[in-house]
Symmetry: C2
Subunit: 116 residues, 2 copies
């Protein structure tokens, strides 16, 4: 699928890219969560992510020691892997905050310029 009609959908996917790690760290900075709960939170703000995206991502962030996890029993099914942000994770998150702000600002400037 590579006709111009599909560009928007494709680009939404691309825009999510790179922002996802940031979003996960943001969400976990506000409280522990497991894969499904994170997906749900993202969906609530219209950022749609697939399971196959989240799991490898959480594993990667854990390897980088930005996250850790603990197992917790659930009354609703199998045990859940609750992820928690680490101190290092919070440190990196601050950097990502700045990176996002810079990007958003840059785009804002271009946007204003393009209307002139």
């Amino acid at each position: 699928m590579e006709n111009s009609a599909g560009i928007i959908e494709n680009n939404k996917t691309q825009m999510r890219r790179g922002v996802l790690e940031y979003c996960i760290l943001l969400i976990l900075a506000g409280g522990d969560g497991y894969a499904s709960s994170i997906i749900k939170k993202l969906k609530e703000v219209n950022i749609i992510v697939a399971e196959g995206t989240i799991y490898p991502l959480l594993i990667r962030l854990k390897k980088l020691e930005l996250l850790t996890y603990r197992w917790e029993e659930s009354t609703q099914g199998p045990p859940r892997k609750y992820y928690m942000i680490t101190d290092l994770g919070r440190e990196q998150l601050a950097g990502l905050d700045a990176a996002w702000d810079e990007l958003a600002k840059g785009i804002e400037i271009i946007r204003k310029g393009s209307k002139a």
Copy 2:
């Protein structure tokens, strides 16, 4: 390079991803330009892009008929390929505007929530 020290740099790259097509359309909506002039404009707002990124991208957008180009002589060197946005390009740009707004809004919400 995949230690936690490199995460920020890596993520800045990832954040650019998907936003780049949007930026190029935005810039060209404000006036025609050629590869180097686009790179320069992006650099002015701290969005750093390599040549090897821009050229394939312009070619792709041209194939999708969001852009066209004309050759124009330069007094400063070889002729330049000036890209122009098409009507279809403007149409798609409107969609990308909306996609960006939605993403930015989503992140803003998560951000506020994570500080609570």
